[in-house]
């Protein structure tokens, strides 16, 4: 049994049913046009069939649980997700140019890379590079953050 496939299959069934229902309220004008709901409903029904196949093949597959990769590596990726979303929140609050060095330093440190000179150099140089390329050359104002607006 492949639990992931079954879980994904169920999720997609919910998605296709929801799409089917929502698309029922879409308008259709004239005799020749199939209307705004036709394609979404068509795709949703194909997706429904595919999800059922996915679930069925998930059940049929022999041999215990899912193959898991090493526990430590999974933790690193989870750390990556957390750091990235924390970074996004930080950008909203303190702006891009304050958050970026903090993120780079913190993330490298958490990943276990702790040599002081290279980490600080990377944090400063990357931020400077982005400042020059985006703010100066491309003239894209990067977010300043709630505190500094």
């Amino acid at each position: 049994m492949k639990k992931v496939d079954i879980f994904v299959g169920l999720l997609l069934i919910v998605l296709s049913v929801a799409t089917w229902i929502t698309a029922g309220n879409f308008p259709s004008v004239g005799d020749t046009d199939v209307g705004a709901g036709f394609f979404p409903r068509l795709i949703a029904s194909i997706l429904l069939v595919l999800s059922l196949i996915l679930i069925a093949s998930g059940y049929r597959r022999r041999g215990g649980g899912d193959e898991e990769t090493g526990q430590t590596s999974w933790k690193q990726t989870l750390l990556g997700f957390v750091c990235t979303f924390a970074f996004l929140a930080l950008i909203c609050l303190c702006g891009f140019f304050l958050s970026t060095p903090v993120f780079l330093l913190g993330f490298m440190w958490l990943l276990g890379y702790r040599k002081p000179v290279p980490t600080v150099a990377v944090a400063v140089l990357v931020t400077l590079f982005i400042y020059l390329v985006f703010e100066k050359v491309l003239q894209v104002p990067l977010p300043a953050g709630l505190f500094f607006e």
């Binding site: 209307g35 394609f39 590596s73 276990g112 990357v126």
Partner: protein, 497 residues
């Protein structure tokens, strides 16, 4: 045609910025390609936001440089470290690393560089001659033809891009559903926007590409940390002798033909081209056993095949507006951002620009040749950059890049979510490229389907009474049904034997 060609030549040499961008692009591409885990697609997706403020030629040559350099760069680490920098270079590693162990790393690098250059350049020349012809044919296409073309592209991509047909198709369907978000193409009714204002014009697809192709790779590399590698091989003379090169010419030409052809077919990319070229070179060779033990023909076949794919993949993109793989999907995004709609009209309305680009692409390959011959050993050292430094930087670039497109933080969140989803998709064997291609081809399929029905007063005859839609739709059906029939047949055989 000749005057367009000469015009392009003079355009490119009077545009120093575009030349500088080509050099930067190729250098970035080689670095990205050489780094295991970073692919040409990722490089192009990360650089794409930088091209917004540029002139079309400079921006597109920057991206082409990254693309070409990225396909080639994988061979450097494949030869020196047996860690192919890109999937396409996996075949190169077979003979390349064996050569390096025999103390001929330099020669392997030289052959790889020369073959990449020859294959790539010839494929651009083919692109240059083939695409105007195709574009002229495509100019005659109306709604039903374009609809069938979109269906054909989608069916091939969904069926060959993943390990499992069902998962590839699911990815394609999810992409199509995402493509339905936003205003209905005919009635202008907002669909599935959830009341979010930014969704009116559809799901922003460039952030999704950056998320799926760059951020997800960065997340993935986190679970492969701590592989310390150092280049220890000594690199001697790099250029092969003329006699050696002459012996390679048939291999290079055959692989170039194969690579270009494979590139033109939607769905098949440089990795498939490299493996097919390698196998064919082996089949044609008198010394079959020598392959895998350090034969320069092996390296040459893979590299010329993989790089020939680049010119081939650009054919359907530029002439039909159909991207054949992930890289060209990102390139399509870049063209659209520049206000250029790829397709037959591109040649009619922007012929000058297109030829300037072709010439520029050949120049990119010349730059790649020079960099490969003179600096390959330095590029190889990029693998010494610790992943702990590289991954955070890539994530920062993903965030800045997706923000810069529309100055919208909403796009950044879409990118981050796509990155997380993309990571799990990879982990559980759902291919990401069908999603992106469906995002591009979905709206095209829907609007053309409904336009076709308007043309035919609502009759479905229009899809099978015209030759081109009929053939394309039949081909799509065959593509989708063959694996199913095969599976059923095998089960039947097992049951009754």
């Amino acid at each position: 045609m000749l005057d367009l060609f000469l015009n392009g030549l003079s355009n490119i040499f009077t545009d120093p910025f575009a030349l500088v961008m080509s050099i930067v692009g190729v250098a970035v591409g080689i670095i990205v390609g050489a780094l295991p885990g970073l692919t040409a697609t990722m490089g192009v997706a990360l650089v794409l936001p930088l091209t917004f403020g540029m002139e079309p030629v400079a921006g597109l040559l920057l991206l082409s440089g990254v693309y070409f350099g990225g396909v080639y760069g994988g061979s450097i680490t494949a030869i020196l470290l047996k860690t192919p920098g890109t999937p396409a270079a996996a075949a190169t590693a077979l003979d390349g690393y064996a050569l390096a162990q025999k103390g001929m790393a330099g020669k392997a690098l030289g052959v790889a560089t020369l073959s990449s250059f020859t294959g790539g350049t010839l494929s651009i020349v083919i692109l240059m001659f083939l695409s105007p012809i195709l574009a002229n044919i495509a100019l005659e296409f109306s709604a039903p033809e374009t609809f069938a073309l979109a269906v054909f592209g989608l069916s091939i991509i969904a069926s060959i891009s993943g390990k499992s047909l069902v998962k590839g198709l699911i990815a394609g369907m999810v992409g199509l559903l995402l493509a339905m978000v936003g205003l209905d193409p005919i009635l202008g009714f907002p669909r599935f926007t959830g009341g979010i204002e930014q969704m009116i014009n559809g799901v922003p697809f460039i952030p999704i590409m950056i998320g799926l192709f760059a951020a997800s790779e960065a997340f993935k590399s986190l679970s492969e940390m701590n592989v310390k590698e150092k280049v220890k091989v000594k690199i001697e003379k790099i250029l092969p002798t003329w006699a050696e090169f002459r012996r390679l010419i048939p291999t290079i030409l055959r692989s170039t033909g194969l690579g270009t052809f494979i590139g033109i077919i939607p769905g098949a990319g440089a990795d498939i081209a490299a493996f097919v070229s390698y196998n064919e070179a082996k089949r044609f060779s008198k010394d079959k056993d020598g392959f895998g033990k350090g034969k320069i023909e092996g390296v040459s076949a893979c590299e010329s095949g993989a790089n020939a794919c680049t010119g081939g993949a650009l054919v359907p993109l530029l002439t039909l507006g159909i991207p054949g793989d992930a890289v060209t999907a990102v390139m399509l995004g870049a063209l659209m951002v520049q206000g250029l709609q790829p397709g037959p009209l591109l040649f009619k309305n922007n012929g000058d620009l297109v030829y300037t680009l072709f010439i520029g692409m050949i120049i990119c390959y010349v730059i790649m040749l020079l960099m490969g011959l003179f600096a390959a050993r330095y590029f190889a050292r990029v693998v010494e950059i610790p992943r702990e430094i590289l991954t955070p930087i890539i994530l920062v670039l993903c965030i800045v890049g997706s923000y810069a497109i529309n100055n919208s933080f909403f796009d950044v969140i879409i990118m981050a979510v796509a990155g997380v989803v993309g990571y799990f998709m990879q982990k559980y064997d759902f291919p990401a490229s069908p999603i992106v291609l469906a995002l591009i081809l979905g709206p095209m399929a829907e609007s053309q389907f409904r336009r076709a029905l308007a043309l035919s007063n609502g009759s479905y005859d229009i899809f099978y009474t015209r030759p081109i839609p009929l053939v394309l739709l039949l081909l799509s059906a065959i593509t989708l049904l063959t694996p199913i029939v095969k599976a059923v047949w095998q089960q039947w055989k097992r049951a009754y034997q």
